[in-house]
Symmetry: C2
Subunit: 119 residues, 2 copies
DNA sequence: CCGCTGATTCGACATGTGTCAACATGGGCG
DNA sequence: CGCCCATGTTGACACATGTCGAATCAGCGG
């Protein structure tokens, strides 16, 4: 491992965010936290960008690879920043290009929130 | 290679909106449709209302039971309307009260979108 | 060093959104 | 019938958001 950098995944924040919506009513704080994640995916452009990163080979994508979603390049950057602030993406600069990568724990947390009653 | 494999339309054909985000990039139309659902849950008040309905006994809840989320009654009605327009809830009037119920197929569709790569 | 390309930030604008008070509707009940 | 309670609708307003062009920052190569 050439780079010994450690990213604060902060899984203790994202993963145990909230129980499934069908389990019990969310508290105001839980709803506040979870809504941030859902809101981040509540825009078509961001949803496309996120899926482009998530489905990209190697689990990461350069901005140059995903900036063809019909809006200007500054707008792409703006949306990527939003996704990063919501904890859904992480970014890393390698030379000229910036690579984005999905945060799997957050994705899992959202899936768990939406999971139907596991019977 | 002629891919004769039929797309798995799944049992959740009521809302076969989009594949998992990690499977392939969403098209503009798919993202447009899916973003509506995520945006509907992208507000803390709506998220609480939805979880109140989803977790309520019998799978349905009267407005009078869930209208204590810290906002005025018209605002509650407004948010419930939004959730209904997004296809996440259905409403039915029975006498004096109006009962809301979750649309399970849509919930399943959202969960599938967020599902990590299936085994 | 200077310019080039990729990416972010800034400033501005139009539009969307959440919220409430006031009013309207609709159905039970006295 | 007429009141009243539970919901929904309307109008208005402050604020957030998406978008772009221009400017700025960050490496790379000549």
């Amino acid at each position: 491992m050439p780079n010994a950098k450690v990213l604060p995944v902060r899984a203790t924040d994202a993963a145990p965010c909230c129980p499934p919506l069908t389990e019990r009513p969310l508290t105001a704080e839980e709803a506040e936290r979870a809504a941030v994640m859902f809101k981040a995916l509540g825009d078509p452009v961001r949803l496309r960008l996120f899926s482009l990163v998530a489905s990209h080979e190697g689990g990461e994508a350069c901005v140059c690879d995903i900036s063809d979603v019909g809006v200007s390049q500054p707008t792409v950057s703006h949306h990527l920043k939003k996704l990063k602030e919501a904890g859904l993406l992480t970014s890393e600069r390698r030379g000229t290009w910036v690579y984005y990568r999905v945060e799997p724990s957050v994705l899992a947390a959202m899936g768990r929130i939406l999971a139907s009653a596991p019977v």
